[in-house]
């Protein structure tokens, strides 16, 4: 794992980006990393574009500010590409992961990205198949694990089972595990 990984999440309020940012941080903590996960809070309500952030590092994290130069960008809602500059400041070797049916090539063109990686996953489709609801956040974590190599599928699943086990039925947990697994396997990566 590199020194400091900075992940910026783009979504609409209600899509679970904050939860995803948190789940990723918690998974990293299980791997004895230092972590930060914070939503960018505002008075916005359901549907508004929002950002959230995750930092992961083997060293204690001392900075407290928004992420301007992310190593990873995760976009939970493809429609945001039209209105939000999601790739703003992304590092040369950064990874942009988008919930979309399009190919990485199409997205790369759309975003005008000529470096780094672009990864595409139909997270909404997977969520609808397995969860029967368009909650794309957990599939995006599967895609993120694969596309970034931050961690394997196993710790993600372990952590999901651990935290969701307190709140949800076994069916819901199984569906989420299926989501993550499918996304991990199906994500298309370019670069």
């Amino acid at each position: 794992m590199q020194q400091l990984t900075e992940i910026r999440w783009h979504a609409r309020a209600g899509q679970g980006a904050v939860t995803a940012a948190k789940l990723v941080a918690e998974t990293a903590l299980e791997l004895d990393q230092y972590i930060q996960a914070m939503p960018e809070y505002g008075p916005e309500r359901m549907g508004a574009p929002i950002q959230a952030f995750t930092r992961i590092s083997p060293q204690p994290i001392e900075i407290h500010c928004n992420i301007e130069n992310p190593n990873v960008v995760v976009v939970l809602d493809e429609s945001l590409l039209a209105t939000v500059d999601v790739a703003r400041g992304v590092t040369e070797d950064g990874v942009v992961i988008v919930n979309t049916c399009k190919t990485p090539g199409q997205i790369r063109t759309e975003l005008g990205l000529d470096s780094g990686k672009v990864a595409c996953i139909d997270a909404s489709g997977i969520a609808l198949d397995t969860l029967k609801r368009d909650i794309p956040n957990t599939p995006m974590i599967g895609a993120l694990a694969k596309a970034t190599g931050l961690f394997d599928l196993r710790p993600v699943i372990d952590h999901l089972q651990k935290t969701f086990g307190k709140k949800f039925t076994q069916d819901v947990i199984d569906a989420n595990v299926a989501c993550v697994t499918r996304a991990y396997e199906e994500v298309a990566i370019d670069g």
Partner: protein, 395 residues
């Protein structure tokens, strides 16, 4: 060292946890962003029967502090939490709590004061209360918010102190960010803070006392205030010794100020709260480039560590004081005024510049810290004169 559990949690979650572990008899609180999740978590402890606390869901912050004062005077261990407008609404009661010498501990989720309304972090709320007679801790991280809250209780209840104490953490940045935190076990915290032995408990009906008397013209009001000042002075060694004991327990160092690179620093920033790490991060980078940059973080603002600051800043060529609060009409922010005062008796006149930053949650980008240190280097090199006041990051 005590057994600890590493958790991923927000500042507010671990502050609520610290409160639970301190076993307060009464918590009287009113929700306000970004403090709310503290009292929500506490309500959860109450609902689950995990605490013996009487949790008073008052109808305003004024009543929150009023009920805390009643409960504390009654002889109970009392804790609460607030933020911003809530702290402002309590203003009158803050002075009464300290004047009555009641060791109430309150977390404050630092948030800007209206107008215009804003829910994000700055220190304007706490700084507005800096002369209210409360001991004031500020946290850089969720870890420190947790640690400070426990230490604050121990200090407040010390028989030689008996003053209320505030444990401040930055709104959203610390209150709502998930952070890696090491949490002590319940027994260790309970053993550390001990039992509260109240003086003059109102509920002692065998020996009734009167609290809150009128000490008007010709009365001893002046003498009571003098005693209050002495109590604040008496808090200094207690803060240190409690900090030492807590360090032993937790393995985490504590001092009223925390320094980075100050052994040989030529340029230094003095800062409070979550932005301290940002300053340290840049100072670390600058040092790698050969710039002798340093950072002093102030962890206890009241009583203010004048001697420690003067000592830390000795020999520095230019100092920036970073205030996340205004003091309109003054020469700089509240921290600036204190730091410059601390340096007045220093033999060398160190140029000190006031930087106001991050008001209303304005993001403390690393580039701002770079700019601030670059200014200092210019001043230290004599290629620039210290300006009056810099609004760092305002358009």
């Amino acid at each position: 060292m005590a057994e600890q559990k590493t958790v991923a949690a927000t500042g507010n979650t671990v502050v609520a946890e610290a409160m639970r572990q301190c076993k307060p008899d009464v918590v009287a609180a009113y929700p306000i962003t970004p403090q709310t999740t503290i009292v929500e978590e506490y309500a959860g402890f109450v609902a689950k029967g995990r605490v013996h606390t009487e949790y008073v869901t008052v109808e305003s912050e004024h009543s929150a502090m009023s009920a805390c004062i009643g409960a504390s005077a009654a002889g109970a261990r009392v804790m609460t939490a607030t933020a911003s407008q809530g702290l402002a609404l309590m203003w009158e009661e803050l002075h009464i709590a300290s004047g009555m010498r009641l060791p109430i501990v309150m977390a404050n989720a630092n948030r800007a004061l209206s107008a215009p309304i804003n829910i994000h972090c700055d220190h304007g709320d706490a700084m507005g209360a800096r002369d209210a007679g409360w001991i004031m801790y500020f946290a850089e991280s969720a870890q420190e918010a947790y640690d400070n809250t426990i230490m604050a209780l121990k200090v407040a209840e010390d028989p030689s102190v008996l003053l209320p104490a505030m444990s401040c953490l930055d709104g959203f940045i610390t209150t709502h960010s998930i952070d890696r935190v090491d949490v002590l076990d319940d027994e260790s915290v309970a053993g550390f803070v001990g039992e509260y032995e109240p003086a003059n408990a109102l509920l002692d009906t065998d020996d009734p006392v009167s609290h809150g008397a009128f000490a008007g013209l010709g009365g001893p009001f002046f003498e009571f205030k003098r005693a209050q000042r002495e109590a604040m002075e008496a808090a200094r060694p207690v803060i240190t010794s409690v900090g030492e004991a807590y360090s032993q327990l937790s393995g985490r160092p504590f001092d009223v100020i925390e320094t980075f690179g100050m052994e040989d620093a030529e340029v230094a920033a003095v800062v409070i709260g979550s932005a301290s790490g940002n300053a340290r991060h840049i100072a670390r980078q600058l040092r790698a480039q050969g710039v002798k940059a340093g950072v002093v973080k102030v962890r206890v603002f009241r009583p203010f560590p004048y001697a420690e600051l003067a000592e830390a800043l000795r020999g520095v060529k230019a100092v920036a004081v970073l205030d996340r609060a205004e003091s309109f009409g003054a020469e700089g922010g509240p921290l600036f005024l204190e730091v410059r005062s601390a340096l007045y008796d220093a033999s060398d006149r160190i140029p000190v510049v006031s930087y106001i930053y991050g008001l209303g949650g304005s993001d403390v980008r690393l580039e701002l810290m770079e700019r601030m240190f670059a200014d200092l280097s210019d001043i230290a090199a004599g290629s620039a004169q210290p300006g009056k006041l810099v609004y760092l990051g305002a358009r």
